[in-house]
């Protein structure tokens, strides 16, 4: 699941693990029913207005160009697609977006839910197709980031291939490979798109065959490695070692992969969150220049999933499997706010991605149950 604001705080796009990509026009805050009503009744939550048709497998990441006109999506179908979100619709489709509510309603009514009850009938909405498709990846694309100026795009797949793209030209700029067995699980670009940080990880191939993860800084233009940030933390780290013993060196720092990255607006810090199902998914703040760990902050029970700096660089916002979004001060790591409540820790649908509106006043988050949650600040 991934989410993005489309140039305003009232228009969002979200994609799911089946490859569905939908756009919602949110009503003004004053017109939105209380949250209790939305999550307990069928048909009260806003319905999608547009379906973006093209991907054939899960949507992993979304990004929007600075002008708010072009949505970019990365998918497990190994492609990256560009969408003109102001394009005229080209057709219609029927979608069901309230499976969970239908289940709940049926259970309350005491009837057994058949697949037909769940899957139809849905709502009829307009569709658009993508304007461009970027190909070149060999496996699931699990990582994508767009430079703040919108010039460069960086994508990474689970064959350990990283590709940098020239967004305007829709062409490949450079490419490089990570370690042989690793997946590219997260990327981040500096505002000008000149420098990248890439996180590699792979779940173990066996208890005694555990590839070593990586966290490195690269020059985007030619893919040259500039700094091994993980080596800064563990000077004795041998990336070729795949033993159980060697994994003990990095496990506490990496957990089950640093699954999301973001670079601060001033380009001085990179935030990396501990993902996978782990006891305490923390946010590491590291210096871009030296790789030195500045501090480790917050902590999501059962692992973190996404991270974003606010535009002023003062706060870092993280999402996690504990179904809570945590807002912490960069300066001292102090947690200043929580969005949402723990919905039972690992046994409820966890939050999978977050996005901030351009005006920084609205935050959207997806969960793996298929919901999009929207908060307004202030």
């Amino acid at each position: 699941m991934a989410v993005a604001f489309l140039g305003s705080d009232r228009r969002i796009a979200a994609g799911d693990r089946d490859g569905r990509l939908l756009i919602w026009e949110l009503p003004e805050p004053t017109d939105i029913p209380p949250i209790e009503q939305q999550t307990k009744s069928v048909g009260v939550a806003p319905v999608p207005k547009l379906s973006l048709v093209g991907h054939t497998n899960g949507i992993s990441r979304l990004a929007i160009t600075p002008d708010g006109k072009t949505l970019i999506s990365a998918s497990f179908d190994k492609t990256i697609r560009f969408w003109d979100v102001a394009a005229s619709p080209s057709g219609f489709t029927e979608v069901v977006v309230d499976h969970e509510l239908r289940d709940a309603e049926a259970r309350r009514a005491g009837k057994k839910v058949s697949p037909d009850d769940k899957d139809g009938p849905g709502i009829k909405i307009e569709t658009i197709g993508s304007t461009h498709t970027l190909e070149g990846h060999r496996d699931w694309i699990d990582a994508m980031s767009l430079s703040t100026d919108g010039r460069r795009l960086l994508t990474g797949d689970q064959s350990s291939l990283v590709i940098a793209w020239d967004v305007a030209a829709r062409k490949e700029l450079s490419r490089w490979n990570g370690s042989l067995w690793n997946w590219i699980v997260a990327t981040a670009l500096t505002g000008d798109g000149e420098t990248a940080v890439v996180s590699e990880y792979r779940y173990k191939r066996d208890d005694f065959d555990i590839p070593c993860p990586a966290l490195k800084r690269f020059n985007v233009a030619d893919g040259a490695e500039q700094l091994d940030l993980l080596k800064v933390q563990f000077p004795k780290l041998d990336p070729k070692q795949n033993t159980y013993g060697s994994a003990q060196m990095w496990r506490k720092f990496i957990a089950n992969g640093l699954v999301a990255l973001d670079i601060s607006p001033d380009g001085k810090l990179v935030a990396a969150v501990q993902g996978g199902e782990t006891d305490n998914g923390q946010v590491h703040l590291l210096e871009m220049e030296t790789g030195k760990l500045v501090r480790t902050i917050s902590g999501h029970q059962s692992g973190a999933t996404d991270v974003k700096f606010t535009a002023d660089g003062k706060f870092v916002i993280s999402a996690g499997r504990d179904t809570v979004i945590r807002i912490c001060q960069v300066e001292d790591g102090k947690e200043v706010a929580q969005l949402g409540k723990p919905r039972g820790g690992q046994f409820k649908d966890w939050t999978s991605s977050i996005a901030l509106s351009p005006d920084q006043r609205t935050l959207a988050a997806t969960d793996i149950g298929g919901w999009v949650h929207v908060w307004t600040f202030g």
Partner: protein, 440 residues
């Protein structure tokens, strides 16, 4: 002395330690137990074995003794992410099906190399078993029986070692590479106990001497002298087992090189895939080639209650690469027809994906696969329903599964061994051989 003589209890009292030692293809432990029991006039454990085990081994053994490799997916691999795809169903998951070299048979995209070996495989999509958690499931899918307090059932590796194993060899007949099962030889006794190797496939430290060959030889002579002297006056079973263990260990020294796969690995790493599991599979082929009857090779970590898709994406590709390489290698060496390759875990996984993005334990409908010796490849047996919740056609129980394995190996699954005076068939009473899976 002939084998048949041993069925006559009157002979037992006259069997001496020395004579017994010469009968190298019989269970000496069982024989000694029987001797002691006869002289004491009581009924003891393995009494039945004296009549029904060693006495009729030759008759019970098949003319062509097949071998077996078990590829064990510890934790329970998901059928939805391997052999029983449900594309389009809400239970289907993230992966897509791919075609195989058998028309109409599709498997998960995570297994492109196995897809090209599908003509060798008999996939069972209708397993329905009776132990849903790991300890019970591991026991069940190694023995064919649910755990009980009263009977220590043997693993099928021990049974196959008993009926198809060779006597007097330098290598054990039953070898496990990184196995999680612990039932062992059960009531079959220590003779058929597995020899366990660690996760890297190397011999355990205790298997080699720290002394020079000359010193070790002199130590051996001294030890033998002392033990034989002791044995003349003390017919204790533990003493005998101690001598046998030393003998087995010494014989192992003659064949240590088979465990050193580094040189061959350089040539075969591409075939098996560069993984620890691939190395284990290459070792299994070498052991089979050297005459070992049963080798279990395990891969860990399939218990994907969370992040099922990524766990399988990490685990399945190296596994299927090694498995496909093993099948090709066995075939190229002319060993596949005489070697049954069994692929399974202890359980399947739930159709529903939970809110940890995982799948939980499930035994109502899941999948296993067989290939090689005695198996008619290129087929899918049984079927689950549209969402994989239940078996639609041809359910196969654990008993049916093991009865079929024994039959494929030329062993009658109705043969009985004895736990005390209780007869125990190899496959549980009522089990049916799935004859459609067999070549004959």
């Amino acid at each position: 002395m002939s084998v048949g003589d041993l069925a006559k209890p009157t002979l037992l009292a006259s069997v001496t330690v020395k004579k017994e030692f010469m009968i190298d293809h019989l269970s000496r432990r069982a024989l000694l137990k029987g001797t002691l029991a006869t002289s004491s006039g009581g009924v003891v454990m393995n009494w039945g074995d004296l009549f029904h085990g060693p006495a009729s081994l030759a008759a019970e053994s098949a003319p062509t003794k097949k071998r077996c490799i078990l590829l064990w997916m510890n934790g329970g691999a998901s059928q939805f992410e391997t052999f029983d795809m449900k594309p389009g169903a809400r239970t289907g998951g993230t992966f897509r099906p791919i075609n195989t070299n058998v028309a109409g048979a599709q498997i998960c995209e995570l297994m492109p190399k196995i897809a090209q070996q599908m003509d060798k495989l008999a996939v069972i999509r209708s397993m329905r078993t009776s132990e849903v958690d790991h300890p019970g499931g591991i026991y069940l899918m190694h023995t064919g029986y649910r755990p009980t307090a009263n009977v220590r059932f043997p693993e099928f590796g021990a049974i196959i070692a008993k009926y198809n194993g060779r006597e007097g060899t330098n290598l054990p007949n039953f070898i496990k590479v990184f196995s999680q099962a612990d039932a062992g030889a059960g009531f079959l006794g220590p003779k058929f106990q597995p020899f366990a190797i660690g996760p890297e496939g190397s011999l355990p430290p205790f298997s080699s001497s720290s002394q020079s060959p000359e010193v070790e030889s002199r130590r051996h002579q001294l030890r033998t002298f002392l033990e034989e002297t002791y044995a003349k006056e003390h017919r204790a079973e533990t003493s005998k087992m101690h001598r046998e263990a030393y003998e087995a260990s010494r014989r192992l020294q003659e064949v240590r090189k088979v465990f050193d796969i580094d040189a061959e690995w350089e040539k075969h790493s591409e075939l098996y895939g560069n993984s620890v599991f691939g190395r284990r599979c290459l070792l299994a082929r070498r052991l089979i080639e050297e005459g070992v009857t049963f080798v279990e090779v395990s891969q860990s970590s399939y218990d994907s209650h969370a992040d099922n898709a990524v766990w399988h994406k990490a685990l399945v590709p190296p596994m299927e690469h090694a498995w496909a390489g093993l099948l090709v290698d066995l075939q190229q060496r002319g060993l596949l027809d005489s070697t049954l390759v069994v692929w399974m875990g202890e359980i399947g996984r739930t159709p529903n994906i939970n809110n940890r993005a995982g799948r939980d334990h499930y035994v109502r409908s899941w999948s296993t696969a067989l290939a090689g010796g005695g198996i008619k490849g290129g087929q899918v047996y049984g079927e689950s329903d549209a969402t994989g919740v239940d078996v639609k056609d041809n359910p196969v129980t654990e008993g049916d599964f093991f009865a079929t394995i024994y039959s494929a190996l030329g062993i009658d699954p109705k043969k009985e061994n004895f736990a005390g005076v209780r007869p125990i068939p190899l496959a549980p009473f009522g089990s049916k051989v799935v004859s459609e899976l067999l070549t004959s």
